[in-house]
């Protein structure tokens, strides 16, 4: 039963992962700092999931990245590009709409 509950939560979190990551990348972040920022915001993400996701978002044209090799250790910093900003705004609107709809559904259930 506990496993089934976890499965539901995992699916729920997976659905908002991209939105959460994009929301933290208005300022440049490297992998570990982003993970910390998300964890501090209440959204801990496994490193094995987050780091490849950054690459995928970059490949999709939503992020820009650059290496900072001036300081040791060298780190790759990611940030939103223009397309990423547009996508974030669109996803945020969709999220608020989903929250409104779900609140309505859950409220109806409570009554």
């Amino acid at each position: 039963m506990a496993e089934r509950d976890n499965t539901g939560l995992t699916e729920l979190r997976r659905g908002v992962l991209v939105l959460a990551v994009l929301s933290r990348l208005r300022t440049p972040q490297y992998g570990y700092s982003l993970r910390q920022a998300l964890a501090d915001g209440g959204m801990p993400i496994e490193e094995g999931t987050l780091y490849p996701l950054l690459r995928r978002l970059e490949a999709q044209g939503l992020l820009a990245s650059e290496w900072n090799v001036e300081h040791a250790p060298p780190r790759r910093y990611y940030r939103l590009n223009a397309e990423g900003e547009r996508t974030l705004a669109k996803l945020a609107d969709a999220w608020h709409e989903q929250v409104r709809v779900m609140d309505g559904l859950l409220e109806r259930r409570r009554r």
Partner: protein, 308 residues
């Protein structure tokens, strides 16, 4: 081996699973990220990173092949959705090869080799199908088919006539059949049956089975389609006919079917092959009947729904 060696080994194994063009970039970043993670773990633990700490970190990260898969997703060689069909075709191949080997033994044919070739052919075929579906979305899309009961009279009548003309008449009087079919242009002496075979049980059983098969098609014509009993009758008759033809192959190999030794020599493998094919058709029909469902609510399993 210290913590850095463990990380290096892991990064190497991840990179090895990636396309060549991506290896360097991903490996460099992964090494940096793992270094940050390890440093944070060491900071929390209050001592320098060691091998156990690195192993613990990497365990949470996942197998190198899995991590590489997250960085570069490759399509499955065979679509997971095709697993059921691959299994069915694999089983069908194994049964076909076993039946073929038993009923039509041939020199130089190795069942194990044939099965491996069959598996290879399945992998290639399903990989190509998956590739085509990915490359051309919409290609090979699903199309509706007739149900298992479908057999309109316009098809059932020719099936009945063909059964009466081809196997029944040919089997009952092979010489007359060839004389009529080829307008007397072919010699028929070679098809003369031996007296022993004429009176043998395989011939009686073969004749009976073929007549029953024709009768079954006549019933389908009358009923306008397959019914449950005709489906199972078809399975039983084809299975029986396959075995009977197998027995014919054995008799022909001993020179007991035709008077002409040459005719026996030529017909023995043909009887075997046709018998094996017929038996396989029966197995397929049996599988189809076994797998057949008529969707209906399973109310008996849900007493609460029954009440409403």
């Amino acid at each position: 081996m210290n913590a850095d060696d463990v990380i290096e080994s892991y990064v190497r194994d991840v990179a090895r699973c990636l396309p060549r063009g991506k290896r360097n970039d991903v490996a460099f970043e992964l090494r940096s990220l793992l270094g940050d993670e390890l440093a944070a773990m060491a900071h929390a633990a209050g001592h320098a990173p060691d091998k156990a700490m690195a192993m613990n970190l990497l365990k949470g990260f996942g197998r190198p092949a899995e991590v590489a898969g997250r960085y570069h997703q490759r399509p499955a060689l065979i679509d997971p959705a095709d697993t059921h069909h691959v299994l069915i075709w694999t089983l069908a191949g194994a049964v076909s090869i076993a039946v073929l080997s038993a009923m039509s033994p041939a020199e130089g044919r190795n069942g194990g080799d044939l099965f491996l070739k069959w598996l290879g052919a399945l992998v290639i075929t399903f990989s190509l199908l998956g590739w085509r579906r990915r490359r051309y979305p919409g290609a090979l899309s699903w199309k509706p088919r007739h149900g298992p009961d479908w057999m309109p009279r316009r098809l059932a009548v020719p099936a009945l006539v063909a059964t009466l003309v081809f196997p029944v008449f040919m089997y009952a009087a092979p010489q007359t059949f060839v004389r009529i079919m080829f307008l007397g242009t072919l010699p028929t002496r070679g098809l003369e049956l031996t007296g022993a075979f004429r009176e043998s049980w395989p011939r009686m059983a073969g004749m009976t089975t073929l007549i029953l098969l024709a009768a079954m098609y006549a019933a389908i014509v009358v009923q306008g389609g397959w019914r449950n009993w005709t489906c199972w009758m078809s399975v039983a008759l084809h299975a029986g006919l396959g075995l009977i033809l197998g027995a014919h192959a054995g008799l022909a190999a001993q020179g007991l079917v035709f008077v002409s030794p040459k005719a026996n020599e030529v017909s023995a493998p043909i009887f075997g092959l046709v018998g094996a094919f017929t038996l396989l058709c029966a197995f397929y029909d049996m599988y189809r009947e076994w797998a057949r469902i008529t969707p209906a609510p399973a109310l008996e399993d849900r007493p609460n729904l029954n009440k409403h």
